[in-house]
């Protein structure tokens, strides 16, 4: 249905793949936890020499945050590639600058509401890797995906 992909569709596909891996990890961790007391095949026993139930639960509790970091890294890669390939820039500016400058350059400029929504995700992502100076609103993986997907939809179909 999607046929030969445009550059923008490829960019969305990159985000979609992270979503699908998030779902796969969610499933695998839930399954591992649910079967902890009943599964005793050779592979499971081998893994249990290095993985505890507590680690599985912690990985599950942190799953959103782990995948938000990956999602945002992919988003950053998409914008940097656009900056260099489509806009012909040789620099690698910070993501704050990329969001604003690319937003201005799009055929339909990214609305201030969408730009602010993207910056909120950027601030949340930063709070996951640095100790934030002030309180930052947390977001689920789904909200991050939706907002970054919307930003990417302002890029031209091809560049």
């Amino acid at each position: 249905m999607r046929g030969i992909m445009t550059r923008q569709q490829e960019a969305h596909q990159r985000l979609r793949r992270i979503r699908d891996e998030f779902d796969a990890s969610h499933y695998a961790l839930r399954r591992a936890e649910a079967r902890w007391d009943t599964e005793w095949d050779a592979t499971t026993i081998e893994y249990r020499k290095k993985v505890t139930l507590g680690q599985i639960r912690r990985a599950f509790d942190n799953l959103d945050r782990t995948f938000i970091l990956r999602l945002f890294a992919e988003f950053e890669g998409i914008l940097l590639a656009y900056w260099q390939d489509a806009l012909g820039r040789q620099t690698s500016p910070k993501i704050f600058v990329l969001i604003n400058r690319i937003g201005d350059s799009c055929p339909i400029p990214v609305s201030s509401a969408q730009r602010d929504a993207t910056h909120e995700i950027r601030r949340y992502r930063n709070s996951l890797v640095h100790v934030p100076a002030e309180a930052v609103e947390p977001f689920t993986f789904g909200v991050c995906l939706s907002r970054l997907g919307k930003y990417v939809s302002y890029l031209p179909q091809d560049w």
Binding site: M1, H12, D23, P107, G142, L145, S146, Y154
Partner: protein, 145 residues
């Protein structure tokens, strides 16, 4: 010298192939239903197909669709109707995804015995709404919002 021998996959079971054909027919009915409901709402629909590759069923084509929604404040909004697989386990009769663009938000339609569909969120919580024109139109707008 190493030489690789690859076994050709076994021919699909005729009973499974008949089920697969029935599933493709069922997806076709769903896509047609969505086309009708969308057209009534004034939304443009593009019908196409998706290639599916399933264990023991081989590669086959199933109907798919793209529904264009009012753009609102975005350059474009749409919903994709994407058949995923017939054999998904758990007693469900196949899965078709509704995916919003550009949000990539998604719900799964799981086939029920007969011709019904259960709407399942990404968290695997059923929506418990009947599959009707009104439900579809609301879902489509929410998915792309």
């Amino acid at each position: 010298m190493t030489r690789a021998f690859s076994k050709s996959p076994p021919a699909p079971d005729p009973t499974l192939l008949a089920k697969r054909d029935e599933w493709v027919r069922r997806v076709g009915l769903l896509v047609e239903q969505i086309r009708q409901w969308s057209t009534e709402a004034g939304w443009q629909v593009e019908i196409g197909s998706e290639t599916i590759d399933e264990h023991r069923l081989g590669q086959y084509e199933a109907p798919a669709a793209r529904v264009s929604l009012p753009k609102g404040d975005l350059p474009e909004r749409a919903v994709f109707v994407v058949p995923i697989a017939m054999r998904i386990g758990g007693g469900a009769d196949g899965r078709v995804d509704l995916e919003g663009y550009p949000t990539l938000s998604r719900v799964k339609l799981l086939g029920e015995p007969g011709d019904g569909w259960t709407i399942m969120t990404d968290s695997n919580v059923p929506l418990r709404q009947p599959w009707t024109a009104e439900t579809f139109r609301q879902l489509a707008q929410d998915l792309a919002a």
